[in-house]
């Protein structure tokens, strides 16, 4: 945890400082001392202090707890794990980008199928479950709640 705590502490401190600097650009209300910047500056300052405390605390126990660092859960993630995690994020981003054009049904089918195949589900189980899920989502959100999920390519058939 030592290394990661120092990094997180540093990031939080930078974030806090950045917010404080940015908040200086908020317009002040004439004749009023407590404007839009007061609260964010207070919070960001507190966050920066927490960041410093976190990093400092980790730095102080770096020698005694060096072995514990191995137990940090992110250290145990394999490169295949990272790939799958990033692929999941890519699936969601891809859905946002293309669902309008190709439609909710094929886009969601891709998300569900790829997601299940990545986790080692057999292809025919993944296919059946994806189809059933899309049917449920369609009935619940489109038919019952009238959410305008993008129709895309399938528009003529829906």
């Amino acid at each position: 945890m030592v290394k990661s705590d120092i990094i997180i502490g540093f990031i939080l401190t930078m974030l806090g400082v950045a917010v404080i600097l940015h908040a200086q650009s908020f317009p002040a209300i004439p004749g009023q001392e407590y404007g839009a910047a007061v609260f964010p500056v207070l919070i960001a300052g507190a966050l920066a202090i927490c960041g410093i405390l976190l990093a400092f605390g980790a730095w102080r126990r770096r020698a005694s707890l060096a072995a514990v660092d191995l137990e940090h859960s992110m250290a145990g993630i394999t490169s295949a794990g990272w790939t799958k995690g990033l692929a999941t994020i890519a699936l969601v981003v891809g859905y946002c980008l293309f669902a309008d054009r190709i439609g909710f049904i094929p886009a969601m089918a891709i998300v569900l199928m790829v997601g299940m195949l990545m986790l080692g589900v057999r292809w025919w189980v993944a296919l059946l479950v994806s189809a059933a899920t899309i049917l449920v989502i369609y009935q619940l959100f489109v038919v019952l709640m009238r959410v305008p999920l993008p129709r895309g390519l399938l528009a003529p058939f829906l």
């Binding site: 007061v38 919070i43 507190a46 940090h72 995690g85 999941t88 909710f104 959100f141 709640m145 959410v147």
Partner: protein, 500 residues
């Protein structure tokens, strides 16, 4: 009395009853699946309640959370994996009973005492909430500021492993809450020219991200393993109910009272109630040596406490708009969206809807017994649902739910961003619950803080001048200092022990 009659009329409609029943079943199943928490059940349910009238929407969430907290006991007993964090306190005890072949007794006790605990918490809610509302009417911005700060402080300093990391999570949430136009000055903050950010960061997609998507990412990154079910059949659950009530009535009353009290404390909820109740049961037991080896006594007390806490948590939620835990935080957010702003005025302007909420509480705890029986009978099937099939489904429902809030892909983007944030936070042992409390309470704290500062002309002393505000302020500072005080006490004791 007229309001109560009206409330019966409001609840006894097919729309309300059906949504409560369906939400109960949903919460029951999600809670019973290991790794899916009560908060996740709520996160997945909220987009759907978005399209309902206020009362069925709130009813659905009440029922769903009560069932999920209870159902967490099922995998906890059969697999030694707590379904929700609220069951963690007595997981080992219940599993020890399963290994002795007494799973039915443990599950039956969970079902019976959860329902009774829930009803007890509701009774307190019914009596205490309107009385407190009278007091709350006289509160000014100073009292509200302290109440909100006290809630957040308790959430971070009571029972937390690292208060510093809890604080970090909270400040991230409060910072997120400052985005947009929604501030006392009406100035766009941190929008960077994006019109979508003007309205602030929607808390529903953020919550779905923090509680559901982060879990999916974890399963993807660490791999999803399937579980082995040891006991394949669940027998008679109602065995010895009368006997247990008679033998353990003291434990039950204590668990109920303690759970409700902890629930009422802003910022502390079912999880903490269960831990404290289990420890207390052991302390006062005549046979403490039996604890941990499959003894039902501690289970009775803590399973009563966690469900009682749920009712208790609604007292500060309804009266002050201050959440007792992350579930009520979410519900408060939804109440605001529905125009039912929680606070003392709700009790004056809308008493029938408050009584209707109380009735739904009672209803939900009564539904719990037949539904709980059904889920326990089907537990071996539910527990076998493979996580690797489930996780992509949760992702799919999360995406559609986040989209449905405003019918824009922007909701999915927010969801994903908070999913990644939640994943990174939990991987580094930073809890996510304070973050969602911060997002919900942020606008309220800021408004009351800025109003108070303007009223007092910048004097921070004014925050302590009114009696209730002063007492709340001092109490908050004591909670903040409690780890330091504890440390100092230990230091003082250590040299003494060395000398002896």
């Amino acid at each position: 009395m007229q309001a109560i009659e009206k409330a019966f009329g409001l609840v006894a409609t097919p729309g309300v009853l059906i949504s409560v029943l369906l939400a109960s079943a949903f919460g029951m199943v999600i809670g019973a699946i290991p790794g899916l928490t009560a908060t996740m059940a709520i996160a997945l349910l909220v987009p759907i309640t978005f399209f309902m009238d206020p009362l069925p929407a709130v009813g659905a969430m009440i029922a769903c959370s009560a069932m999920a907290i209870f159902a967490g006991d099922i995998p906890s007993t059969l697999l030694r994996i707590p379904g929700t964090p609220a069951s963690a306190a007595y997981t080992d005890e219940a599993y020890a009973m399963t290994r002795k072949g007494e799973a039915e007794t443990a599950l039956g006790a969970n079902l019976l005492f959860s329902a009774i605990g829930g009803l007890f918490g509701t009774a307190v809610l019914i009596v205490a909430a309107p009385a407190l509302a009278e007091v709350a009417l006289r509160f000014s911005s100073f009292e509200y500021f302290w109440l909100a700060v006290l809630g957040l402080t308790c959430a971070i300093f009571i029972g937390a492993v690292s208060p510093l990391k809890g604080l970090i999570s909270l400040f991230i949430g409060l910072l997120v809450a400052t985005v947009g136009l929604n501030n006392p000055a009406g100035v766009p903050r941190f929008t960077f020219g994006y019109t979508e950010l003007m309205g602030g960061i929607d808390f529903i997609p953020a919550m779905i991200g923090l509680f559901a998507v982060s879990e999916v990412l974890r399963a993807m990154v660490h791999g999803a393993t399937d579980l082995k079910v040891t006991q394949s059949r669940v027998g008679n659950l109602f065995r010895n109910w009368g006997g247990m009530i008679k033998t353990y009535w003291r434990q039950q009353v204590r668990g109920n009272t303690l759970g409700t009290a902890i629930g009422i404390l802003p910022g502390a909820g079912a999880d903490i109630a269960a831990w404290v109740a289990y420890a207390m049961s052991k302390k006062f037991s005549k046979t403490p040596e039996k604890f941990g080896k499959g003894h039902v006594e501690g289970i009775v007390e803590s399973t009563s406490a966690n469900n009682a806490a749920l009712g208790g948590a609604w007292v500060p939620a309804l009266v002050f708009g201050i959440p007792g835990d992350s579930i009520t935080a979410v519900v408060i957010g939804v109440l605001f969206i529905k125009g039912l702003n929680p606070g003392p005025t709700l009790f004056i302007n809308n008493p029938e809807s408050i009584y209707a909420v109380f009735l739904i509480f009672i209803l939900a705890n009564l539904f719990m017994i037949p539904l709980g029986w059904a889920v326990m009978k089907g537990a071996t099937v539910i527990l076998r649902v493979p996580r690797r099939v489930l996780m992509p489904l949760i992702l799919g429902f999360s995406m559609v739910g986040a989209f449905a809030v405003n019918n824009t892909a922007y909701g999915i983007v927010i969801m994903l961003a908070f999913g990644v944030l939640g994943f990174l936070m939990e991987e580094n042992d930073i809890p996510v619950a304070p973050c969602i409390l911060g997002i919900v309470l942020g606008p309220m704290i800021e408004e009351n803080f800025v109003t108070s500062m303007i009223k007092s002309d910048g004097s921070f002393l004014a925050f302590f001048e009114r009696p209730i505000a002063g007492a709340l302020g001092v109490f908050t500072i004591l909670v903040v200092l409690s780890p330091l005080i504890g440390m100092a006490l230990r230091r003082m004791r250590r040299p003494a022990a060395n000398a002896a």
